[in-house]
Amino acid sequence: MRYFDARIIENRALGNGYFSLRLGGCDSLAASRPGQFIMLRGDWGRDPLLPRPMSLLSVAPEGRADMLGRSVGRGTKLLEAALPGTRVSVLGPLGNGFPDPAPATFDLLVAGGVGMPPLFMQAEHAARRGLVDRCEMMYGGRTSRDLVLLGEMRALGLATHLSTEDGSVGRRGRVTAALEARIEYHRTANPGHKLRIMACGPREMLWAVARIAEPYAIECHLSVEEQMACGIGVCLGCAIPARSRPFRYACSDGPVFLASDLIIPPAPGHATGGTP
């Protein structure tokens, strides 16, 4: 973990508030693992005050690091509008990250909206090790405009199953429905596969994923989001109720947790996996 200044060298608008940000000067992030994140802050004065946690999407040679952002509030809007050349401060890499891809396992990567970056990076790592055929991406959003960087996924050779709630692209419905279908498929078609799930996205999605995985006893890794102040385990702000201890910390114990260590709330009224 290092604290350093970096520069935005590219900022690409992807529509619907999504943008991909490339930073230069991030040599310290070179060895980052998929699922790790940084605390990012521009020269913003006091509004916003705290740095913003952002997952890594990809790290490349010569100190480049990519992020996928979505503008939802002032901090991310400032990032969205930032011009190449803008100086930012970076603390990272932070957190634990996902387990390594392996020849003996098959990983179902479940991405909801702007939770996609760590799973993209996981797929990229798999590809670098020649293991991209040991995983596939289930990527869901509200509409086709929430599914971005599809070309980059294709370029990795990654099998991708899209779903949108409005059916504008891919399967109509939630990504969790696609996940159930893919689990069933793999259990029939490839009974020898040791399946794992790695998921990142909105909290309700993560809980739904956990509830789907549980009866199948599939090893399930969830990357959670919590309000963060420090990112390094000192403020104790990002507490998440857990089984192994009353609280775990999203920034320093996570953001990736085994679903079995988290306290998953019971499903709300409506069916978890169905088309809305």
Partner: protein
């Protein structure tokens, strides 16, 4: 000694930053605040901890505590609210897991402590006071998060005085008391500390506040209320430091609240603080506490101040 520079500027000896506050001598007057710097180790890879005047640990209670439900923090205008709930490893956990590192970290360590009863305070203070590597204790009587523990003791000058006295009697090490700003009379609280043997007061802890998410109709903190910190509270903190200093009871003051840089620290010195603590800013810029030290030194150089102590209480008020 080098020859005077071309422009005729003379070389000055570097300013002295040594600060004596509440029975402890610090390399410089910049400490880090309880609950915002962990137990130091997390920052050790960012800068040498020995560059700090000192550091104050997360609040320790006799028994470990798990803290409040989530969400525990949220951002507000130039500030943040927290309701961590005094989560900590407890006395023995602290001694076994944290103290060994702290003994080697090269800076003065104050241990922030509290109890949920009068007796717990006394017990906790006494046991911590005997531990090796602890330069002093900072008694937290002001945390607004826990009903039974914090606010009640620190709110009433009489109760506070008794608590300070009881702890003083069993603690040989320097004893600082951290005051709550949720009061109509900060001077009365400081006086209760001074008269009952406290070595210094730390001013201020967080101000009780609250935030609401209008869309969900829910409070942003699980505990509804929490403690406000950060630049937003600096004017209140400065005012309270000034009021205590101005009351002239002579108790040293450690100034806390919204310090972001060296100029902020100097403002606290001018208001009457002998030392300062950097809190929330550690989250905004994790290298800031060391930077504050450098900026204070730089300020002294630029203003021809040979000893940082000259700044303490040196506010100039016009007739």
């Amino acid at each position: 000694m080098t020859a005077p520079a071309a422009g005729g500027t003379e070389e000055h000896a570097p300013p002295s930053l040594v600060a004596r506050c509440g029975g402890i001598e610090f390399r410089n007057p910049v400490l880090t605040a309880s609950g915002t710097f962990g137990y130091g180790s997390e920052f050790a890879s960012l800068f040498p901890l020995a560059s700090l005047g000192g550091m104050v640990t997360k609040g320790i209670s006799p028994n470990p505590r798990f803290g409040n439900p989530a969400p525990r923090i949220c951002e507000t205008a130039s500030g943040m609210l927290n309701s961590i709930g005094l989560e900590n490893v407890g006395l023995t956990g602290f001694e076994a897991e944290k103290l060994p590192f702290l003994r080697t970290c090269g800076t003065k360590v104050l241990v922030n402590f509290f109890g949920t009863t009068f007796d717990e305070y006394v017990e906790c203070g006494q046991r911590l006071g005997r531990m090796d590597g602890v330069a002093g204790l900072e008694m937290n009587v002001s945390c607004p998060n826990i009903k039974a523990g914090g606010l009640e003791f620190g709110r009433d000058p009489r109760v506070l005085g008794e608590l300070v006295r009881a702890c003083r009697n069993v603690i040989e090490k320097p004893l600082w008391v951290k005051l709550t700003p949720n009061t109509s009379d900060i001077v009365a609280l400081a006086r209760a500390c001074a008269e009952n043997g406290a070595d210094a007061v730390s001013v201020i802890n967080t101000i009780t506040g609250m935030a609401i998410d209008a869309r969900t109709r829910r409070p942003r903190l699980a505990t509804v209320m929490g403690g406000l910190s950060g630049p937003a509270i600096k004017p209140v903190a400065l005012r309270m430091v000034y009021q205590i200093h101005h009351a002239g009871m002579g108790i040293p003051i450690c100034g806390i609240g919204g310090i972001q840089n060296g100029l902020d620290a100097v403002e606290f010195f001018l208001a009457g603080a002998t030392t300062v603590q950097v809190g929330t800013q550690n989250f905004i810029d994790p290298a800031s506490s060391e930077r504050v030290v450098r900026e204070v030194e730089e300020f002294c150089r630029q203003h021809g101040i040979s000893d940082v102590c000259e700044l303490v209480g040196a506010l100039e008020i016009q007739g």
